[in-house]
């Protein structure tokens, strides 16, 4: 078990100008489950492969514990990649299936048996050790494959989108099982996914990447409550945050009829390059329905109501000019606002509802840079 450090690690593919991974500075603690997440092409898989030794590091270093492994071959890094295919051999016992890599490495029989038994206990496979794989259920067979990685007692587990091949139901089940297994084993794990829900559910901490650059790293709570920039704000959380470009007028963010108050700290942190504009973000669940004319109310014309039993969501647009409505977007798309409402008080299509951002749940970002502004 060990920590993992990316020390300004960079990967530039030959013949390209923009680095696939740009001076990544990231530390994974001993025993931590860290998720690398981001849209396709953000550099998350490349980063994982740099850690695995499957990508060259053009500048910077990779450390496992205190050891600089930047130029060490994959098989000598003491890591286990748990995203590749594992085969189950039908004529060998479950115990032999789990331990055969150790046998190849020449480990003594007694040690192999001991490690296999330990892993089997954690995986609830003890009573199957001397059976053939045929006798196992599908889920148990998969655990044997996991056991092969565990018995090697690596310092780090690496997983690259291991759930991508599964259907939705199985994905949720398996997600939970991987997370609980990691907690039991306490092995440092670096996990890659494009699915932000998976990241929020599984990680001790999450690292969001975009275009090869680390956007923010923190606990799921941190990422959700205090996103560091517009990209993270729009990426983390489902349904996605509503984000609108307002202009500043008399200490408030204004867009059409909407006037959202801003603190002095927020305004003074704005630079000149923002040209009097500010990006305000608010999650669908951070809105309270208010009456027209209430301070800070945002008028929303209802296009669609989604009733989900315990919850209801209004999908709509900023009321008023169509042109101004295009300044607010959400997970539903351009010129769309999502509001969570009380399912017992559902408006009709075409109605106008007034929503106000709950105090403390407003996110402000500089229009020029996208960076978070003080509250």
């Amino acid at each position: 078990m060990a920590s993992v450090t990316f020390d300004k690690a960079t990967r530039i593919y030959p013949g390209t100008e923009r680095p696939a991974v740009d001076a990544l500075d990231l530390e994974v603690g001993d025993g931590e489950f860290l998720v690398l997440v981001g849209p396709s092409g953000c550099g998350k898989s490349t980063s994982l492969r740099m850690l695995a030794g499957l990508e060259d590091v053009n500048s910077g270093r990779i450390l496992i514990g205190d050891r600089d492994v930047t130029d060490v071959q994959p098989k000598d890094r003491d890591i286990a990649m748990v995203f590749q295919n594992y085969a189950l051999y039908p004529h060998m016992s479950v115990a032999d299936n789990m331990g055969f890599a150790l046998k190849i490495a020449g480990k003594p029989k007694a040690e192999i048996r001991q490690r296999v038994e330990e892993a089997a206990k954690i995986l609830d496979l003890t009573e199957y050790l001397d059976r053939k794989p045929k006798a196992l259920s599908g889920g148990q067979r998969q655990r044997v494959a996991m056991g092969r990685a565990i018995v090697r007692q690596p310092q780090v587990f690496l997983m690259d989108e291991p759930l991508s091949n599964l259907d939705a139901k199985l994905r949720v089940q398996t997600r939970t099982q991987i997370a609980s297994l990691q907690r039991r084993l306490g092995v440092t794990t670096v996990y890659v996914t494009h699915d932000q829900t998976e990241a929020l559910t599984m990680g001790d901490r999450i690292a969001v990447l975009k275009d090869g650059v680390l956007q923010q790293v923190g606990t799921p709570r941190d990422m959700y409550d205090r996103p560091a920039n517009v990209f993270v704000a729009g990426f983390i959380g489902s349904p996605a945050m509503n984000l609108g470009t307002f202009h500043i007028e008399d200490g408030a963010a204004v867009l059409g009829e909407a006037r959202v108050p801003l603190s002095r700290e927020t305004i003074s942190a704005l630079g000149n390059d923002s040209k009097g504009e500010i990006i305000v973000g608010f999650r669908p669940e951070s809105l309270d329905r208010v009456s027209a004319g209430t301070e800070g109310a945002i008028p929303v014309t209802v296009d669609l109501v989604e009733e989900l039993g315990s919850d209801a969501f209004v999908y709509g647009r900023l009321a008023g000019s169509k042109e101004l409505a295009e300044h607010i977007s959400s997970g539903a798309g351009e010129a769309q606002i999502i509001v969570r409402i009380d399912p017992r008080d559902v408006p009709m299509k075409g109605d106008t509802v007034y929503a106000r951002i709950r105090p403390g749940e407003q996110h402000n970002f500089a229009a020029a840079t996208g960076e978070r502004l003080p509250d």
Binding site: Y13, P14, G15, A52, G53, L54, E55, D56, Q73, P74, K75, V82, F83, Q84, N85, Y86, A87, L88, Y89, P90, H91, M92, D96, F100, A101, K103, I104, P133, K134, G138, G139, R141, Q142, R143, A145, M146, M159, E161, P162, L163, S164, N165, L166, D167, L170, Q173, T174, Q177, I178
Partner: protein
Amino acid sequence: MAQSLEITAARLDPALLDLPWEVTLEEWPESVLAALPRGISRHVVRFVRLSGRVIAIKEIGETVAFHEYEMLRNLNRLGAPSVQPLAVLTGRSTPQGEPLDSVLVTEHLQFSLPYRALFSQYLRPDTATRLIDALAVLLVRLHVLGFYWGDVSLSNTLFRRDAGAFAAYLVDAETGEFQPELTVGQREYDLDIARTNIIGELMDLQAGEILDEDVDTISVGNRIVERYTELWHELTSSESFDTGERWRVAARIDRLNELGYDVGELAITTDIDGTRIHIQPKVVDAGHHHRRLMRLTGLDVQENQARRMLNDLDAFRAATDRQGEEEEFVAHDWLARVFEPTVRAIPRDLRGKLEPAEIFHEVLEHRWFISQQQERDVPLPEAVQSYIDNVLRHRPDERAVLDPGDTRTIPRIDF
């Protein structure tokens, strides 16, 4: 409820639409199947007869199916030995509306053999090493093309006889990826996976009493590392020599040709004072013999078969004293007087046993053998008849040996 099938295919065979896509693959009726699979397999795989050929159908997740289809298409386009993808089908559902997994359809490689079939046939002690040599050649070829396999194993490969040796073909590209150029780390890791998987597969054969338990599986597995490294070195390493030894340039190219590679680009540099020369192949193309035979005769066969036939062509040329003539004319005559009569002499009912080029190779071997035995030069027509009666008739049919493999593969974690 009618399903909304989506089919991605380069050329759609309409007969594909007649298959029972609304039924889960595991439950397809025997009437459409070409063979029942043996052993356990993580993905459900079935072989089906379609329009006079056999196709393989694999049920997997949608993303993986498309990815694999793309990989196989690229591999085929680049001429890498691999199975040919036919289609991806998504949007399957049962009549009750329950969604079913997507499906990748590939063409079954005629006359190909899964490794287990080879081990359970007449066991030559060196079968394992010959398979591994073939796999090493395949892996080098893929790596030269910038393809990282990610799951190299005997189970993910099909083998075809190639003039007494084997030619290996990639079957499973799920974990594969193309890079402009593979890093040392990627190649070494792929090779390490190969070694581990091969040893595991051999150990499994021993556990199943299909392979003799005296075989040292680890040293056999190590062979892939040795063969790969030798070949990679030969194809890519630089060498230096004095300017007086320029013949070494031609010698290097000859060696590469012998190995089946044409040199597309050779970097040649000299020292400042001009006393030493350094050469390094930069671009190499596999299929040297295949291309030459194709050019001379139009025959499309495998590399070793081509080499064999070219050797026979050279011998024919010498025997008929036609070294001065244009190669193309001599080749034309060789085809008409040697190759085609041999192949045509095989009775129709025995043609499913081996590919024609392989039969030709075996006939030549047989002729040499009986000539030794009888202490005379047996003429070819006589040798052919003897081969048909004494050898070919007793061989099993190899046009379609179907076995999706006994080792289960687990694509990702799925508890």
